[in-house]
């Protein structure tokens, strides 16, 4: 089984045209493939050109070279209307839609299908209702957009993209400005849509952990370099993640998939009850220690439960801390 890629690019050059015929090139030679039924996360530091790439794929800006194929057909063959039936977008652009209801907002997604005055037919209403349900925002349909929380607004915009019935959805930082739970909710929703409706979903994000957890595929973008693409786990194991994110004081921890402040070389042995030990280790890392398996000659922390933490000093003495804060104070 080898389905047609939703988006495929060949030797794509992206960037901005400047005055005097010069170009500000961001990336070149991009060979990308977005597959239906998958959530792809685009990661990159600020200024890496994530927005430029998304804008180019959204058709808001012309590529400097190369070609983009949507569902096997070159982008240049798409009329604006056909494009609006193929690619739905969710942007960070500030909207002025506070004064319309969620239902009206989602019904805007039917625009490419409706006639001159945008009159909605029965089927349109049915699709709007389905989209509201699928995005989990149906209970707010009658509310004004201004009454929604940021997370609900994002869901409403996703519902709009669903009402557009596009096989491809591109999202620009959909989880920025959201609190932790809304972030996860949004990602779970996008995954569900990819699996159940076989949509090809591409989103840019800064949320490394969430991307590793939820993304089927990861694109790592850096200015002037070729894109690194792959399944998150493969990229971690191959060391691509580490070399991509490592800076002077920041390292990518391949065991946890987190970015960490460079671990100082002071090893501390840790053992005992799992949960307490895990978080005690977390506190140690933050404070510049490196948790290791207990070994002779170094500080050892034995966690009995969360109120009893025994600290074994290298001298052989043992003191007991009642909490992690106390433990940190003692060592």
């Amino acid at each position: 089984m080898n389905p047609i890629p939703a988006i495929e690019t060949f030797d794509l050059r992206i960037g901005y045209s400047l005055k005097g015929g010069k170009n500000n090139l961001v990336n070149e030679g991009l060979r990308l493939m977005l597959r239906p039924g998958e959530v792809t996360c685009l990661l990159g530091l600020n200024g890496a050109g994530k927005s430029t790439l998304l804008r180019t794929l959204c058709g808001f800006q012309k590529p400097l070279g190369g070609s983009i194929h949507l569902q096997g057909k070159p982008l240049t063959d798409y009329s604006q209307r056909l494009f609006s039936l193929t690619v739905g977008v969710v942007l960070t652009e500030k909207t002025n839609a506070g004064g319309i209801t969620v239902y009206e907002l989602v019904s805007l997604g039917r625009h490419p299908y409706t006639g001159f005055f945008g009159q909605l037919k029965k089927t349109d209403h049915a699709i709007i209702k389905q989209s509201l349900e699928a995005a989990g925002i149906a209970h707010k349909a009658k509310n004004y957009v201004s009454e929604l929380s940021d997370g609900e607004r994002q869901k409403a915009m996703i519902a709009k993209a669903l009402a557009q019935q596009c096989p491809i959805i591109l999202l620009d930082e959909p989880t920025a400005f959201l609190d932790v739970t809304s972030r996860i909710e949004t990602m779970v929703l996008l995954r569900k849509l990819a699996k159940e409706q076989n949509k090809a979903i591409l989103l840019s994000t800064h949320d490394l952990e969430l991307a590793i957890q939820m993304g089927d595929c990861i694109w790592l973008q850096a200015k002037g370099q070729s894109m690194i693409c792959g399944t998150p786990e493969d990229l971690i194991l191959s060391g691509d993640f580490s070399s991509f994110f490592e800076k002077e004081e920041i390292t990518f921890d391949v065991t946890t998939g987190k970015l960490q402040v460079q671990a100082a070389a002071v090893p501390v042995g840790i053992e005992g009850e799992m949960l307490t030990a895990y978080w005690a280790g977390n506190a140690l890392i933050r404070n510049g220690y490196r948790p290791v398996a207990p070994q002779p000659g170094c500080l050892t922390i034995r966690c009995i439960d969360r109120h009893t933490i025994r600290i074994g000093l290298p001298t052989g003495e043992t003191i007991t801390a009642g909490s992690i804060a106390e433990m940190l104070g003692m060592i």
Partner: protein, 344 residues
């Protein structure tokens, strides 16, 4: 879904009819309503002067007020949506000043005056309308140019105000070199008046404004998409550049025609869309545009009635009345912006 709003249309239409009748009957000479009805129905009532007043002064003036009010209100709404700025309006963005400048050039430099214009054949006031349209479009062009360079709407608004000042200063220069009778005619025109359209010119005025209003109604669908911003609108299949141009042409026609005949009328374009949104609670243009149109007509008729001082002691300039209604609305909107849906 729209049923809940039917009563608003009902009340607004009622208000419009009531105010229209009021402005036919009320004036420096009071004419009883039944006499007005008789005159309109063509019955003889024996008083030639009343017939003259109603048919040749008050009827065209009231029709003008309705159309001018609707035109300005609708162009205000279009600009507010296009610039994503609730404080945009034909007079704030300097578009009225542009039309003003065009009119000033014709009236002061080429020597047309309103009294002359009324007696001239079509080409006379056509020249003024064309000049007003050119001036309005010139300023619109400048604003559009800056709107592509300046991201912040507040900054754009300030640029609009500055451009308006520049147009005003050009008008002052024109005034300085013009003869005093022309200046007087121009100043009188600048105070705003719905009586500037004679029965003979009314068909032309009506055609132009109805054309503009019709064009605005055709723009309802893209206007709604523009609520989401230009990028979303483009993704929904809206041809943004074309829509932008159409909105500006439409605003140009409406503002220029109204300004050429009635003078630069302040605040109606700015305040009426807010009154309409506050009444409706929605910024869906399918509802908002017709309500703005009707409200504009009502407010203009109300101003037309308020202009007439009680006891027949004279008539106030229009621009002395519109800010009294418009400015408090804007202050109210700004003070309550946290609680108003469309601001958030």
């Amino acid at each position: 879904m729209n049923k809940q709003f039917n009563h608003i249309y009902f009340w607004l239409t009622g208000c419009l009819i009531f105010l229209f009748a009021g402005s036919l009957a009320y004036g420096s000479v009071t004419i009883p309503l039944d006499a007005v009805a008789d005159i309109l129905l063509g019955n003889e009532i024996g008083r030639e002067s009343w017939k003259q007043i109603v048919l040749h002064a008050r009827l065209p003036q009231s029709v003008t007020a309705v159309l001018a009010g609707s035109s300005l209100a609708v162009s205000g709404l279009l600009l507010q949506t296009l610039f994503k700025n609730p404080l945009a309006g034909p007079s704030i963005l300097g578009i009225s000043d542009g039309a003003n400048l065009g009119v000033a050039a014709v009236m002061l430099y080429f020597g047309g005056s309103l009294s002359m214009v009324s007696s001239l054949p079509m080409s006379g006031y056509l020249a003024i309308v064309v000049a007003a349209f050119t001036g309005a479009c010139l300023i619109l062009g400048i604003i559009i140019y800056f709107s592509t360079k300046v991201k912040s709407n507040v900054m754009l608004l300030i640029i609009g105000i500055m451009v308006g000042y520049m147009a005003s200063s050009l008008i002052s220069i024109l005034n300085y070199y013009a003869s005093s009778d022309k200046v007087h005619a121009f100043v009188m025109w600048g105070m705003g008046d719905f009586s500037g359209v004679s029965l003979k010119q009314l068909p032309f005025f009506t055609t132009c404004t109805l054309l503009g209003l019709f064009l605005a109604i055709l723009l309802i669908k893209p206007l709604n998409a523009l609520l989401l911003g230009e990028m979303y609108a483009a993704n929904l299949g809206i041809k943004v550049k074309r829509t932008r141009a159409l909105i500006l042409i439409c605003t140009g026609i409406l503002t220029a025609t109204t300004t050429a005949f009635c003078g630069p009328i302040s605040f109606i374009g700015l305040a009426v869309p807010h009154i309409a949104r506050l009444m409706l609670g929605s910024s869906n243009h399918k509802l908002l545009l017709p309500v703005t149109l009707l409200t504009g007509g009502c407010i203009a008729l109300l101003c037309n009635i308020l202009m007439v001082l009680p006891g027949g002691s004279g008539i106030l300039p229009l621009n002395a009345v519109t800010p009294l209604i418009g400015a408090p609305v804007i202050i109210y909107v700004i003070m309550n912006r946290k609680n108003i849906q469309y601001f958030n």
